[in-house]
Structures are given as C-alpha cells and as structure tokens.
C-alpha cells in the first residue's frame, strides 16, 4: 500500500487550506512554465492526435514528458517528504532531478548556478528566444493530447451493471484511487470510444486503449455504515482494467 495512492480518505489531517491563489510564491510560475514546455516538447507527441512534428522541433529535449512522468515522481516520494513539501516544491525537486538523471545538466552546475542567483536574485536569464518552440507550446495548449482511440473490442461491462473494483499490485504509478479498491459500485455511463494512457502501468493494467466507465459508489459502501456522511455519492471514472464482475 503506497500512501499517495490512498490519499483519498485519510483522516486526522486538520482543517482544509482555503488559499485561492494558484501560485503562492512568484517562483512557482517558472517551474509550472518549464513543466508545460516539456509537455509541449515531449517526444511521444509525434504519435499523439494531432500528430505534432516534434522530431523536427529545434530543441535539445528528446524525452517523453507527460503527466504520468510528474505523477510517477510524486507517487514515488517517501510519504513524509510528500507531506513536507508544497505542491510546486515537489515539481521543482522532481523536474530538476529528472534533468540531472537524464544528463541534460549536472548537479554541480545546477548547484553553482543556484548560488549565483541566490547572491544576485535579479541577475538576468540568457536571452535566446526560440520561435518554433513558442509556436509548438501554443499549438499544444490549443489542441491538447487526447487519449481517445477507437475501441479495440466491445466494452466488457454495461450501464446499470454492478461491478467490483479490482485490487491490482501496487506499482510506481496508478490511476486507481486506493480508497475504491475492492469496493462495489454501479456503472452509470460507458464512455464512447477507448482511452489510452500516457504510459503502460504494467500489472496495474492501463496504457493501451480500453473503455472507461463512470462508476457511482454509495459513500456507505466505501467507508461503512455509520462511518460515512448521509446521502452522499462518489463518482469516479475508471479504466476497464480496474473493474471486475461483482460476483
């Protein structure tokens, strides 16, 4: 059981944070922008819909970088660290380490350059604009990266059917919220088409195009009678690999 997969349902965490700002520190905008540029430059987009000609983009970036990359990093953190750092602090740690691990930069130069900007926070960034990258960022943001694909086979389940959520082996990354594992739910919608996921999650089961279902769960079926709030329904969109017949 990996804690980040089971965040939904944790108790004793105190009051919610009511902060409505997106970026609580100005520097957070920069790491968000770096991440989104990486997504727009990701090598996998040559096979996306629409087919982005990333192989012709004048960038030194040659890796895949998707939401799955960032999520896998966050889910792989030691749970204490996960709670210790704020949202964009985790992004900064994960993305910096990625560029070091992949050999784009080395830890020494990042550390010495950080010292430089620590001493001179206003020192300028290099001035090397890149119009093709700028155009690709805009195009990616406008056109996206849908996982919708043709159905490879008819859906196994139908609307109205009662199912039981699977309990696959815990791996590095999943799209199955932990609190739903092994719980009974009812299918209320079979989405049209099939949906691929950015990466193959191995024994967890997603990646290749498969149907996705909207499943309704009574809160009492998840948390137990008397341990849940009344008159509450939880809906989740679940890939077919996460569903089993009820009986």
């Amino acid at each position: 059981m990996k804690l980040q997969h089971y965040l939904g349902g944790l108790e004793n965490l105190g009051p919610v944070n009511l902060e409505t700002q997106v970026f609580v520190q100005p520097w957070e905008q920069r790491i968000f922008g770096i991440h989104t540029t990486m997504m727009a430059e990701s090598a996998h987009l040559t096979g996306a819909l629409p087919r982005y000609p990333i192989d012709q983009l004048p960038t030194a970036f040659k890796n895949d970088w998707t939401w799955a990359s960032l999520r896998t990093g966050a889910e792989g953190m030691q749970p204490f660290e996960y709670f210790k750092f704020r949202y964009y602090e985790k992004w900064l740690m994960g993305i910096s380490q990625f560029f070091i691990d992949q050999g784009y930069i080395d830890a020494e130069e990042l550390s010495s350059r950080t010292e430089h900007y620590r001493k001179q926070p206003e020192a300028a960034l290099p001035d090397l604009p890149n119009a093709p990258i700028r155009e690709q960022i805009v195009r990616y943001l406008l056109e996206g990266d849908s996982g919708l694909r043709p159905l490879p086979a008819p859906p196994r389940f139908q609307s109205g059917e009662v199912i039981k959520v699977a309990d696959p082996e815990a791996v590095d990354h999943t799209r199955l919220p932990g609190y739903l594992r092994s719980k009974p739910g009812i299918i209320v919608e079979v989405y049209d088409g099939a949906f691929a996921y950015f990466v193959n999650t191995g024994p967890d089961g997603i990646g290749e195009p498969m149907p996705v279902y909207r499943v309704a769960f009574a809160a009492s079926d998840i948390w137990g009678e008397g341990k849940s709030e009344a008159n509450t329904t939880i809906y989740a969109d679940l890939f077919e690999a996460y569903l089993q017949p009820a009986a």
């Binding site: 409505t20 520097w27 905008q29 922008g33 784009y104 090397l128 890149n130 919708l148 996705v212 969109d237």
Partner: protein, 207 residues
Amino acid sequence: MSKLFEYEKQREAASAAKVRALEALLIEKGVIGSDSVDTVLGHFETVAGPFNGARIVARAWVDAEYKARLLADTPKAIAELNLAQGMDGAEGEHMLAVANSPQVHNLIICTLCSCYPWPILGLPPYWYKDPVFRARGVREPRAVLREFGVPVSEDVEVAVWDSSAQIRWFVVPERPAGSDHLSEEQLAALVTPESMMGVALVHLPAA
C-alpha cells in the same frame, strides 16, 4: 537529527534561485527558449482561465435550453459560445458539466493529483491541490464544504466527482436569488473558480 526534519532556512529564496538556475541552464542548453515559460504563462492570462467558465455558467443561467444542451453534450455547447480557440485543448480534451440544484450539490476533486479543466477554469487554486482537501473531500465532503462556508442540508444529496481518468469535471452553480435584473455579463462577473468546483455558492454583491 535526520535530514527529513530539516528545512532550508530560507525556503522560498532557495527555491526561487534554484528554479532560476534551472531555467537558465535549460535555455543555454537549447532545451527550452528564453521566451518559453512566458509563452505558457501568457496563455493562462489571455486564452485559458475562469473568465471562460464564468461566461458558460452565465449563459446557462439566462438560457434554460442552453443549460440543457451544456449538460447533455458539454463540448458542443461550449463550442456554441464565441470563446477563444482551444476550449478543447490541453486538459480540456474531455470536459463535462454537472449542475447544482435544490436536490444535489456537486463537489469536484482529484484525489490522485490535481486534474482540472484548464481551458475554461485556468490553473487549479492552491486549496484544490492541497493534500488535506484531497484526503477529506471524499471521506467527509459535507464537513469540508462547511469549512468553505457552504453548509449542505442532509436532505440534499452530495455528489463528489473524483477526476481519475480522461474527464475534467466542472460545476454549474445555482443562480443567486434576486439576480433577475442582472445582465448576462454582470452575472458572469459573479462566478468564481471556487463556485465552479462546488466549494462556494454564487452571491449577489453586497448592496
């Protein structure tokens, strides 16, 4: 003492310098351009943002047939409005609307990360990404809603939508009572990102 229990003393200054160093190195090495980050940020000031969602909600309030179409086929109904291009772009490829009513109050959450309908709502506010909301929102949504100042009576169903696959959900809040005299544009100005995620109601401005 273990390193786990240590924070950098000037935590924000350290992160600010590190992210600037990272951006500088990535520019020098040709991974990104010096205009890349600002291009991303500019998109969320001019093209994608809660101003789009507010217009969708206001239209649904003044036109019941539009609201019905929005709930039946969300992307098609959004495309009817004269919004910027890209309303089905990144993180908005598959969006669906759910409507609050006297019978049901909807709450949108992403317990695994921070999935959010970017084109029409922009980027998620801090509260949405905070682990406490993500943990408690599915376990005790009514208690969470009370903390946000939205008590929901027990005879009203609470529907929680956990964004775990392709769909990015948003809420059409209820139109405030006594708003008949307001234009569609004036109504749109009242709609907040929080109301379109279900943690706020829409109120008339204090007279």
